[in-house]
């Protein structure tokens, strides 16, 4: 197997705030291979964005404690001084964000915002950078881009703004693109267009991608691998086929059963996950998911599960205290349209 492009090892990020230490990322490990796509899935506040921002050093600060390693082509990004990390940002690793309007500078032309990224990393003339900016805007699907370079972000639609963000991110042909909920603020048509554009550009540039999302439709369409995060930890990780065909964690089941899918019959009710993600300051004892888990047993409140390989599924790992045959029975029951309550009572 080829060497991973990005290898995150036991990453921890703690924010010291006035109300206590926020354990935003708590011992997370994942790898991204060149040209492949990893989806990081989880509700807001489960630490998935923080892990991504930390990769670019964007969470650095006096009140942030970071430990672990983030190896990018063998170099530990966490150990790099700011200056060297800046050479990687926007150049070898780029990022796009959820809200394209607030992420673009309101009083600067889009052309200049693209040019600036080029000029920060390449020794080219302003005129050359401008020509490249026009090319990039054209390439991300902004027609007549030479006329739009002088326009301001507020003159664009939301989908067009996200295209501008993508042009900025791809300005230096990065090896890795981190997309933090790239379609969350867009209408459905624009969502589909942006995802198609990302896929097309990924293939052209052979770049790897990390997509942070809570939209499982995005995951199914884009991802090669999926990591499910809950309360700052990865609780399940596997290939996209594994996660969709044989999910192992009750939280993953909850995510899958709370959104409609094409094969969902009309009579089947969507089941929301009860409760809310835990506070990252005072985390639950035992399994972090136990307060919301329909299948909780007494020992789950005391024992903290580690990621374990799933039998007969290479590369698939899960942190769940239920035994594999039990998990199989529960998931098959859910797939057959039974509710968590029925399944719990019949165990």
């Amino acid at each position: 197997m080829s060497e991973p492009l990005l290898n995150v090892e036991n990453l921890r990020v703690v924010f010291n705030t006035d109300s206590g230490n926020v354990h935003a990322v708590d011992g997370v490990s994942y790898a991204v291979n060149p040209g492949s796509t990893l989806a990081i899935v989880g509700e807001s506040g489960s630490g998935n964005s923080v892990a991504a921002l930390t990769t670019l050093g964007l969470t650095r600060g006096e009140r942030t404690e970071v430990s672990g390693r983030i190896l990018f082509e063998g170099r530990d990004l966490l150990a790099l001084p700011d200056r060297e990390l800046r050479e990687i940002r926007g150049n070898e690793i780029a990022m796009i964000f959820e809200d394209p309007l607030s992420s673009l500078h309101p009083v600067d032309t889009v052309g200049h915002q693209v040019m600036e990224t080029i000029l920060a990393h390449r020794a080219v003339s302003k005129a050359a950078a401008r020509d490249r900016a026009i090319d990039l805007l054209e390439r991300v699907g902004i027609p007549d881009s030479h006329r739009w370079v002088e326009a301001y972000p507020h003159e664009f639609s939301a989908g067009m703004r996200q295209r501008v963000m993508i042009a900025i991110a791809l300005a230096n042909e990065p090896k890795l693109l981190i997309a933090d909920q790239p379609t969350a603020m867009l209408d459905v048509t624009a969502q589909a267009q942006i995802l198609a554009l990302l896929e097309e550009l990924q293939q052209q540039l052979r770049m790897a991608m990390i997509i942070i999302t809570h939209d499982l439709g995005v995951v199914a369409e884009m991802a090669d691998e999926v990591a499910v995060m809950y309360a700052g930890r990865i609780i399940e990780r596997g290939s996209t086929e594994q996660i969709f065909a044989a999910p192992q964690h009750p939280y993953t089941w909850g995510l899958l059963k709370s959104v409609p899918r094409l094969e969902t019959s009309r009579s089947e009710e969507l089941v929301p996950i009860p409760g809310r993600p835990p506070s990252l300051i005072d985390r639950p004892s035992g399994c972090y998911f136990h307060p919301r888990c329909p299948y909780v047993r007494d020992q789950h409140r005391r024992v903290d599960p580690r990621l374990q390989p799933v039998p007969e599924a290479p590369g698939h790992v899960v942190a769940c205290l239920l035994l594999p045959p039990e998990r199989k029975r529960l998931w098959e029951g859910l797939e057959a349209g039974r509710t968590p309550e029925e399944l719990r009572d019949s165990q």
Binding site: R89, S102, P106, D108, W148, H154
Partner: protein
């Protein structure tokens, strides 16, 4: 392509319509200000000095708006307008210089305090600013004269009171004589703008587009000064434009303390002598000046920041 041309035309149209609306509002404001000064200085005072004969309201409005006649000063045999115009260069030098100086001082202080929030640098800067805001202009002026003026100061290094020379007459003396008045008049505005800019910077630096700037791999200097200050400073310049009234008020005190023969000192003496035509004329002209400056600030803002036009 057609759509873009149409949008560009739309944009020009929007700008034109905004400008026209804003000018109409300014004219209305000017009329209201004239009515108010007429009421204050012609109707209300129970004993007008004998040399001035109060004109009727419409005669007065006609004089002001059609003939630019703001009254006549009999002792000097000059119109109020010409008295004001001779004194104007000194006041403009003082106010413009102090305005520029206040922003020039506020930008580094506000930006550095914001980027070092909570540190000793921030605390010292903000407490000093608060202390300066609390100092009355005339008091600060006297203290500065006492400390630094070349005639009466403990450390006589700069020209003090009564040393002003016109820019064209003696540029060197003009500059030197204005250093202390500029500092005195700019001090409290600079302190106010430092605090304002610090607040705006803190807000701006939390915005998503600052995160984008960092994600592009720009240097922290560029993130702070170009992206951060670039978005925060226009707010302070707007504040300066709207505070021109406060600067003019401060100019009356500064001119009085430093004996600069500007419009402020003219008004001050006129008040002491109950010379109503001059008081009325200077107040009205000052009010007009403020209205025009804020008009320019608003239109300039709309030109710089296209979002304003739609407001």
């Amino acid at each position: 392509m057609d759509r873009l041309t149409a949008e560009a035309e739309d944009d020009d149209l929007q700008m034109a319509s905004y400008t026209v609306r804003r000018i109409l509002r300014a004219i209305l404001l000017l009329v209201l200000v004239s009515v108010l000064t007429y009421v204050l200085f012609t109707v209300l005072p129970d004993a007008n000095p004998p040399q001035s004969v109060a004109p009727g309201f419409f005669g007065y409005m006609k004089d002001v708006f059609l003939h630019f006649n703001f009254g006549y000063n009999h002792p000097s045999h000059q119109s109020v307008l010409s008295l004001v115009l001779t004194r104007l260069p000194a006041t403009l030098s003082l106010v413009a210089g102090a305005g520029l100086l206040s922003v020039a001082l506020a930008i580094p202080v506000g930006v550095i305090a914001a980027t070092r929030r909570g540190t000793r640098v921030d605390r010292v800067a903000m407490r000093t600013a608060l202390a300066i805001i609390s100092m009355p202009v005339f008091w600060l002026g006297l203290i500065v004269l006492y400390l630094l003026a070349s005639d009466v100061g403990k450390l006589p290094i700069l020209p003090g009171a009564n040393s002003y020379a016109g820019l064209t007459a003696d540029p060197g003396q003009w500059f030197k004589s204005l250093i202390l008045p500029w500092l005195v008049l700019a001090a409290s505005q600079a302190a106010i703008y430092s605090r304002l800019l610090r607040g705006q910077m803190l807000e701006v630096m939390d915005q998503d587009y600052i995160r984008t700037a960092r994600a592009k791999g720009l240097s922290e200097q560029s993130v702070i000064w170009r992206h951060g200050a670039g978005a925060a400073v226009p707010g302070v310049v707007t504040a300066l434009g709207l505070d021109i009234g406060a600067l003019l008020g401060g100019a009356v005190l500064t001119e009085t303390v430093f004996r600069i023969h500007g419009v402020g000192l003219l008004a001050y003496h006129a008040v002491l002598r109950s010379d109503f035509p001059i008081v009325q004329g200077t107040v009205l002209l000052a009010a007009m000046f403020i209205v025009v400056v804020s008009l320019i600030v608003d239109i300039g803002n709309a030109w710089l920041d296209p979002r304003v036009r739609f407001a």
